[in-house]
């Protein structure tokens, strides 16, 4: 029921929305909850387990009952709290966790058998027969018990992540937060003020209260002006700080586009990482529900929420309201409602000394012992002066006092401390470094106290930053603290709910204690109390108090469970924002990318790089046809391949040679200028890390190449070696991978092709095998290396990347006129297997130089990284699997990589494994499959026939062990 003239909603701006398909109208500024209450809708959902009718309990993010689904289809979002969701034109909300219509939920039959569904029921009942669990019990239970549902489709909505930085972060914008923010800003600090709601002001917007003689809301407005005037405060509304992390980092979830029908580019939410040098926690307090029998009916609400709906949204939560309280603070609810013409049917106060603060019937030393009303509250029964009395009512406002919202102070494993004075937990001292709790979250409940503590906390933060301390006047406000008496459980017939969201009652807690789950952490897991979306915000303290009573311990002795981030439910979409689709990882494109795509090449990824797999030509229907043709074409004429993705590191300095000698197993200080050498690099444990060629461009100038996969790792390794192992060496290096576009020109016609493009022709004397030097290619200064990964007469030509595409197109065009063309990764792989050249398929991190038959490359004349480790026992034993070539025996049969090798007569079982295959391919040059692999004592088993079994792909064949070099073992082509 809307009360005219009350509330902060904009009655000139009606907003149409729908709930469960039915149209409603609210006002701009309404939450879904306030708009539904205003329309008289009390039943908004069904409970988790018993499917009991539930209504709105709170007016904040702690709401356990009023959870709805927003939207339909791919972007459907479940478990949205109606108390947080603002309405907008076209909002489409649905109740959840029901079977059939909300008012006639078929699963509410569960409520008739509560004894069967008590804590531990599933654990005890569905144990047998075992196989039934997955197939029958679990699906049925999941169907019945649960929260909202997901669409199962890809979410097209945009979410974002962002970073923010400040001197002082203020969390919460009630009286404490506003004063803290102003003080901090006046002290010269850059401030971020985060407020969970759409409006700043906290409880001041929900109470009838004056500060400095002004109504609270007006004071808030003037404070916001003052904050803006400082030019130092960033105001972030709709932003909930979700967690405190190391070194002043805070997570925060901002609702950016959830309250509007925005464009696709508008993020729904933003997950902020805020880096703050100091922070003030002014998160306030959450009102404590009372555990009395049948306390979960729609219409039973928190007293503070009833006042929020009245003052903030102009909504009376009932027509005939009753109150059940343990403190003076809650009596305000009766006064405020009466002042606005709402009937108060009675105030039930558990305290013997309770006094009426106005003209309403007060029942002191009384308790609510049961309630009535199937879909909404109609009546309560109270126990007063030894007799029972029924009172007709459609709204019962309850208050058991307040719990400080100290969650954030526990995010680094601090435990809160029991404060007997307020019968509540308060933050421990210095719980999170740099986070200063103040106001209600610290147990200070009067407005005057909060204002003063806000100033004090900000000054403490300013002092820590070494800033000046400003003079700040503390405004006049009420110093009433509300005086509360704890009441943990009203004894009586019927269930008393603690955790509304997970349907956990006081009986469940007692049962847990009875069944020896007496630790609060065990009780939590046994009953699931505190494990619902509200994470026990409404129930934790009540539950542990009952557990304490049931186990005969004091509350502080019983302790709390662990408060963990996030403080509010946080969508995975927000946490993972930016990683959808192409945002997952950068795409690295070579300069020849577009040219390769134009030629129809399917691209494959190598790390982040995209490389062409093969270049299909008309008539070729399989990749093998293209690959075979590319190999043959390259071996007979000339092939072109972009090899820019290999790591290139420019190394300079007087000690460059010595540095290379230290990181490579072989010698580089003796390499002649203008020459290239193959090098092997080990990890400190003696295993092969990477390989590649390094060219000496000048006396003190080398350029190293790495494999594509290990480029980053090798760079990191070199940095480590220089900074930590050999700081004595005067050497400098930098990656030039991106600077040079580099292309392989491979085959007997490679030199002819190059001489058509180079400004000065080359010959075998100017560029012999393993020669290198500067060249001029079509007017551009480039580099030429005569190196080969195919066994052919081959070169790699490099030009600055801006010319890469142009050169690649030239090279391919020229190659095609010579009977050659572009080749891709498949052909590259076949050609290197034909020559027995290794890649990371072979040097997979588990092999030492001996295994790849390169132990003689570990120079005896010098020390290098990994050398001592290669001498360890067992690393040069002949029964280690060593590199061999493999070819099929008899007719062409398929070889597969990753298969196991066995002696011909042995069973193909684990204990008989003698090796494995690493690389295979069809060699068009030889006309059959070939492979590389590792075999125990391999070099001494040439010609032996062994068994290859691929248990995964179900392939079994016999292969002959041979040299890994299948083609041109003398290397005549290389030098031609």
């Amino acid at each position: 029921m809307r009360i005219e003239g009350k509330g902060r909603v904009d009655v000139s701006a009606p907003v149409k929305f729908s709930f469960d398909g039915q149209g409603y109208t609210g006002f701009k500024g309404d939450t879904l909850a306030s708009a539904l209450l205003a329309s008289g809708v009390k039943l908004v959902g069904r409970s988790f387990k018993y499917h009991r009718p539930r209504g709105v309990l709170t007016a904040g993010s702690e709401e356990p009952n009023a959870m709805v689904e927003i939207g339909r289809g791919a972007a459907q979002v479940p478990n949205v709290r109606a108390t947080v969701q603002e309405i907008y034109a076209g909002l489409d909300a649905y109740s959840q966790n029901r079977m059939g219509p909300l008012a006639y939920d078929l699963l509410s039959v569960n409520d008739l058998f509560p004894n069967f569904l008590s804590a531990g029921f599933y654990y005890k009942t569905f144990m047998w027969p075992r196989a039934f669990w997955e197939k029958l019990y679990e699906p049925v239970i999941r169907r019945a018990a649960g929260l909202g549902s997901l669409s199962g489709k890809h979410n097209p909505d945009h979410y974002e992540k962002a970073f923010a930085h400040c001197d002082i972060l203020v969390i919460g914008s009630g009286p404490t937060g506003l004063m803290a923010a102003l003080t901090a800003a006046l002290g010269g600090a850059d401030v971020i003020l985060c407020e969970e709601s759409n409006e700043f002001g906290g409880r001041l917007l929900s109470e009838d209260e004056e500060i400095d003689g002004q109504p609270g809301a007006e004071w808030v407005a003037s404070m916001l002006d003052a904050l803006r005037d400082t030019g130092r405060v960033r105001l972030m509304s709709r932003t909930t700080v979700t967690g405190a992390y190391d070194q002043g980092t805070y997570g925060a979830l901002e609702r950016v586009g959830l309250h509007v029908n925005g464009p696709a580019e508008l993020p729904k939410e933003c997950f902020w990482r805020i880096n703050a040098r100091q922070a003030v926690l002014a998160a306030g307090a959450l009102e404590r529900p009372l555990a009395f029998p049948m306390n979960d009916r729609p219409g039973i609400m928190m007293a503070s929420a009833v006042r929020s709906y009245l003052h903030r949204y102009g909504v009376a939560a009932g027509r005939k309201v009753t109150l059940f309280a343990t403190n003076d603070d809650a009596h305000r609810t009766a006064l405020d409602l009466m002042a606005n013409g709402v009937e108060i049917a009675g105030v039930v106060d558990a305290r013997p000394d309770a006094k009426a603060q106005g003209d309403y019937p007060l029942f002191a030393e009384a308790e609510v012992i049961t309630t009535k009303g199937r879909k909404a509250l109609t009546e309560i029964t109270i126990r007063h002066n030894g007799s029972e009395q029924k009172i007709a009512t459609d709204c019962l406002a309850m208050s058991g006092g307040w719990n400080p919202t100290l969650h954030m102070t526990c995010h680094m494993n601090s435990r809160p401390v029991w404060n007997e004075g307020i019968a509540g937990f308060v933050p421990a001292d210095d719980a999170v470094p740099g986070l200063i709790p103040a106001g209600a979250c610290k147990g200070t409940y009067s407005t005057a106290g909060c204002l003063a503590e806000g100033v004090e906390a900000a000054k403490q933060a300013l002092s820590a930053l070494g800033g000046k301390l400003p003079e700040v006047d503390i405004p006049q406000a009420s110093d009433a603290v509300g005086g509360s008496k704890p009441l943990w459980l009203v004894n009586g017939k019927g269930r008393a709910w603690l955790d509304f969201a997970n349907d956990v009652t006081s009986k469940d807690i007692k049962l847990a204690a009875q069944e020896a789950f007496t630790s609060v952490e065990h009780m939590k897991r046994y009953t699931t109390q505190g494990m619902a979306p509200d994470q026990g915000k409404n129930s934790n303290i009540g539950a542990l108090a009952i557990l304490a009573d049931a186990t005969g311990r004091a509350i502080p002795e019983t302790g709390t469970t662990t408060y963990r981030p996030p403080f509010v439910p946080t969508s995975i979409a927000a946490l993972g924002a930016g990683a959808q689709g192409k945002g997952f990882a950068p795409e690295r494109f070579t300069t020849s990318h577009d040219a390769s795509i134009e030629r129809g090449a399917p691209m494959i990824t190598a790390g982040l790089w995209y490389r062409p797999s093969y270049f299909p030509r008309p008539g070729e229907t399989t990749w093998r046809q293209s690959c075979d043709r590319e190999v043959t074409m390259t071996r007979n004429a000339v092939g072109i391949c972009d090899v820019s993705t290999l790591g290139k590191i420019d190394i300079q300095g007087p000690d460059a040679g010595a540095f290379l000698d230290f990181v490579y197993t072989n010698m580089f200080s003796t390499l002649k200028v203008g020459r290239v050498r193959y090098g092997l690099m080990l990890r400190e444990d003696g295993h092969v890390m990477d390989d590649g060629t390094t060219a000496r461009l000048g006396e003190t100038h080398y350029v190293m190449t790495t494999t594509t996969a290990a480029a980053g790792e090798v760079m990191k390794h070199l940095d480590f070696v220089q900074q930590c192992l050999r700081p004595d060496l005067n050497v400098r290096f930098i990656s030039v991978t991106e600077q040079w576009a580099q292309f392989s020109v491979v085959g007997p016609k490679s030199r002819d092709l190059l001489n058509g493009l180079l400004d000065a022709p080359i010959d075998n004397d100017s560029f012999p095998y393993m020669g290198c030097g500067e060249v001029s290619v079509m007017g551009v200064k480039g580099r030429l290396f005569r190196i080969s990964f195919s066994g052919e007469h081959a070169y790699e030509i490099a030009v600055p990347s801006r010319y890469g595409e142009a050169l690649y197109r030239q090279l391919v065009t020229q190659a095609e006129t010579l009977g050659g063309g572009a080749y891709g990764m498949e052909a590259l792989n076949v050609m290197r297997i034909e020559k027995g050249f290794i890649t990371h398929s072979e040097i997979d991190g588990r092999v030492v130089p001996f295994d790849i038959r390169m132990d003689r490359m570990v120079s005896a004349k010098k020390m290098c990284i990994g050398k001592p480790a290669t001498l360890r026992e067992g690393l040069k034993e002949t029964d280690r699997p060593q590199l061999v070539g493999l070819k099929p025996v008899g007719a062409v049969k398929e070889l597969t990589a990753g298969a196991r090798l066995f002696s011909a007569g042995a069973d193909a079982v684990r204990v008989n494994v003698e090796g494995y295959t690493t690389s295979v391919g069809f060699s068009p040059s030889l006309g059959h499959f070939i492979g590389l692999g590792f075999l125990k004592d391999g070099p001494n088993r040439m010609g032996e026939v062994v068994k290859m079994v691929d248990h995964v792909r179900n392939v079994e064949t016999t292969v002959e062990v041979c040299s890994p070099v299948f083609l041109d073992p003398e290397g005549e082509k290389l030098r031609g």
């Binding site: 962002a162 509007v260 580019e265 690295r588 982040l608 300079q652 290096f733 930098i734 801006r802 142009a806």
Partner: protein, 184 residues
């Protein structure tokens, strides 16, 4: 004879203008990394000052001006941007041509920090990161060099191969910021 034509990896993708913010490719001219050898730091800085009028910057800073800037890019390393470096400097420092390794974006306009806040964890508050300040950080998942070149303009250097991804990320962030601005 045919000449090789130079091509930018973001040809056709920039300039972008969204809500008053512009993303352009800065053509800063040559880029040369300068890494002074052990004990040669002062000599290299002096020689550089004599050659181009700007010395070696301290960490997270730059020296010089557009057309002859020296930007700190890491421990013992800076990049000379916009001016050629005389080979004589090589007696004091390792010089490496980096002109084609990076693509330099310039993002300019009111609220430029809001866009960058979606892309990098750096604190770019005007009181903290001032014109002439430089930093090595990440842009999305990419390694980047950031340089503040004016009160409302930043340059970001990204590896050339990732240029398209960088434009994509800039565009998403720019559009999101624009969509937020349209809310209020």
């Amino acid at each position: 004879m045919v000449k090789l034509l130079a091509k930018s990896p973001v040809e056709g993708l920039v300039p972008l203008e969204i809500n008053g913010l512009t993303l352009t490719e800065s053509g800063p001219g040559p880029i040369t990394s300068v890494a002074p050898y052990a004990g040669q730091e002062a000599a290299a800085s002096g020689a550089l000052k004599a050659l181009i009028g700007a010395e070696m910057p301290s960490p997270n800073r730059s020296t010089g001006r557009e057309g002859a800037r020296v930007v700190w890019t890491g421990a013992g390393q800076a990049m000379v941007i916009g001016a050629d470096v005389d080979p004589s400097l090589a007696q004091h420092a390792a010089l490496t041509d980096q002109s084609d390794a990076w693509i330099t974006f310039k993002l300019q306009g009111q609220g430029v920090e809001d866009v960058l806040a979606r892309l990098t964890p750096l604190d770019l508050n005007p009181g903290v990161f001032k014109t002439g300040h430089a930093a090595r950080s990440q842009l999305g998942h990419m390694n980047a060099v950031f340089l503040k070149v004016a009160a409302d303009a930043f340059e970001s250097m990204i590896f050339r191969s990732m240029a398209r991804t960088a434009v994509h990320e800039f565009e998403i962030a720019m559009k999101a910021v624009a969509a937020r601005a349209a809310l209020s």
